[in-house]
């Protein structure tokens, strides 16, 4: 007899892409669809899509310095409570204590180019975490299903 899977156990799958921005549209399209499958509405799914765009762009342009011969792994985990997007890479890792978010009010007073991607990620997701898992750098994005 099959043992029922506990409801909190995630369903998950992976996608590995080369570190090239031409695949961003593919990734963000997948993220949006995944968010809809997870039960989020269209507006929330669009936000997940943008957050994933920003996170993967950061990996390609900053962690890998724009070098195309690397890999970016995305792992999507579906639970009853949330959609989790884990982004793994072997480039230069970002850690929690290195994250500096621009102050939107200050930004409006003194506009400048750059620094907005992390802000969008944190505003559009419920949790954004950076760290290291099994020797790989990880950015974890979590969107709760209300």
């Amino acid at each position: 007899m099959a043992v029922p899977m506990p409801s909190a156990d995630p369903a998950e799958f992976q996608l590995v892409i080369p570190s090239e921005t031409k695949y961003l549209n593919l990734v963000t399209g997948l993220a949006k669809r995944a968010a809809l499958v997870a039960g989020l509405d269209d507006a929330a799914a669009a936000k997940v899509s943008i957050a994933v765009d920003e996170a993967v762009t950061n990996v390609i342009l900053h962690a890998y310095n724009g070098e195309p011969a690397h890999q970016v792994e995305l792992e999507l985990r579906f639970t009853d409570q949330a959609l989790e997007v884990h982004i793994f890479h072997m480039g230069q890792g970002l850690r929690e204590d290195q994250v500096v978010l621009p102050d939107p009010k200050e930004y409006v007073m003194h506009p400048r180019k750059g620094g907005l991607g992390l802000l969008l990620m944190t505003r559009f997701m419920d949790e954004v975490r950076f760290g290291e898992t099994s020797g790989r750098n990880e950015c974890c994005l979590i969107k709760k299903i209300s």
Binding site: I50, T57, I60, G117, L120
Partner: protein, 120 residues
């Protein structure tokens, strides 16, 4: 279908830019190039009609931010119109709706841009 195509047309003194598709780190050079070309031609009154824009990432916002000072120093402005709910959320979340004049429709934006005492 390309990720991004950009149409530019004239509406009197206003250059109307219509990006269609996605502005992200991959396509931002084209978007930035279109805006820089207008500035090089001394077209400082620019309306971004976003009705065909699916989304814009921070790369695209940075491109706009990179030119706004030059445009305004020359008596012009960058206005926005026809933002979808999702695109509006991106601009609004980052405070861009306080930095730029945003209109529901292109005709409203054009009227505001060309009102006496406004823009180039």
């Amino acid at each position: 279908m390309p990720d991004l195509s950009i149409e530019v047309r004239d509406a009197g003194t206003v250059a109307v830019v219509l990006p269609a598709g996605f502005i992200n780190a991959h396509t931002v050079r084209d978007f930035e190039g279109a805006l820089e070309k207008l500035v090089a031609e001394r077209r400082f009154l620019i309306l971004l009609n976003c009705e065909r824009l699916s989304y814009i990432s921070s790369a695209g916002l940075g491109a706009i931010m990179g030119l706004i000072e030059t445009v305004r120093e020359n008596g012009g402005d960058i206005l926005l119109s026809d933002l979808s709910e999702n695109v509006f959320a991106i601009f609004d979340t980052l405070g861009f709706t306080q930095l730029y004049r945003v209109y529901k429709r292109e005709d409203e934006a054009l009227a505001a841009a060309t009102a006496p005492g406004q823009g180039a």
